[in-house]
């Protein structure tokens, strides 16, 4: 439920880190596909992703956060091992 003007925070000063709640994944026209078998865990994709959408746990790339990935294709471009393909997003 969206807040009305009386409920909304003064000047929209809100707590930090709210970008996480804003699902930007539906902006995508192309979608990255992660190929686990080709990945050497260099984490170049994680380093370059502008939207923190590469899921990494214990130093290992696990996949892509499709709730926030905007499909820019940088991960696919920087991957030295061809482990991320860009495909057309189908809704």
């Amino acid at each position: 439920m969206k807040k009305n003007w009386k409920e909304v925070e003064i000047a929209l000063i809100v707590k930090g880190g709210t970008a996480e709640e804003f699902k930007t994944g539906d902006w995508r026209s192309e979608k990255p596909l992660y190929k686990n078998d080709k990945c050497k865990q260099c984490l170049q994709c994680w380093l370059f992703c502008p939207d923190s959408s590469i899921i990494v746990k214990d130093g290992k790339m696990l996949g892509i956060d499709y709730d926030h990935c905007k499909g820019c294709g940088i991960c696919s471009k920087v991957c030295p091992f061809d482990a991320i393909d860009m495909v057309k997003e189908e809704k």
Partner: protein, 391 residues
Amino acid sequence: MSKIVAKTGNEAMAEAMRQINPDVVAAYPITPATEIVQIFSSFVSNGEVDTVFVPTESEHSAISACVGAAAAGARVMTGTSSQGLALMHEILFIAGGLRLPIVICEVNRALSAPINIHCDHSDTMASRDAGWIQIFSEDPQEAYDQTILAMKLSEQLFIPSMVTTDGFIISHAMQRVEMYDDREVKEYLGEPKSPYNLLDLDNPITVGPLALQDYYMEIKVQQANFIKESKSKIKEILNDFNKKMKRDYSVVEKYMMDDAEFCFVALGSTAGTLRYTVDKLRKEGKKVGLLKVRFYRPFFEEDIFEALKNIKGCAIFDRSDMFAGTGGHLFNDIKSALYNSSSRPFLRDYVYGLGGRDIDVEDIENVYNDIKDFTENHGKGESVKYITVRE
């Protein structure tokens, strides 16, 4: 215990700043406001205040630094004039929108072109829609008092304020000023109060996020409503100021208005000349009064409406033109305020004094005769006149 001193408007404002003791002052010099922050910077060097003074490379940066400091919970002030205020324009709206309690000591000066360093109200008028409180001063005493008052208003209401004086006419003219003790000002203002604190690392916040079709309007309606509601709060704070600081200020000041048939309405220093002329005309038996508008923003239309309800003809003095073919700012605001009144006086706008052009008692006496004729002719003829100009 107060003391009586001789101060120019700029000196009075600098003294008010010293007593307010802001955490941060970021400023860039501009005639005729330079002295305010120049004198204040000597207070900083002498260790008389606890302020961090940030000399910036432009007014845009000065007000931006003020926004940053205020968002971090600091008590913040600056001073500027004319082109400097115009260069701040973009950020003024951000300060208003973020509800930051910043106070600007603003000296009214004409905007270019042609370049001019003297008084008119075009600079302040151009920023009237930025969501700031705007207070006009008639003399150095009001400049001093109202700077202290503005800090209180901004910190109570979370609306930024600009206190204006008239360039050279007040800023550089020395007059009697009754100053409070430093302690009295300190006690009156109390600790700095801010709506939020960006540097509170335990409670991180986002300041100035994006708000599109789904939230922008709610935020702006919230701001508009707060400004509307602030009018009664401003009156309360002003009453409290009068009581504690022993003054007698009101949002609009009436002089000889009770039985007046005609009246003058003006902002700033010209109110002094008008009051003198009212006295002169009263001695000749003429029923004339003066309405001085102290707060231009927010606009106290109910008070103005009330003050003018028994007036037959009203001469509005505008030291600025809207360049819309409809006269000056004060005239247009008052005309709008009276639209729903059943007892509207005849209104004529007298645009005067642009770029520091002098206005004297004789000019005002002519206005009295003119507004009387205009009223007797039922408002026939142009509603806007330019006076103090060669024709």
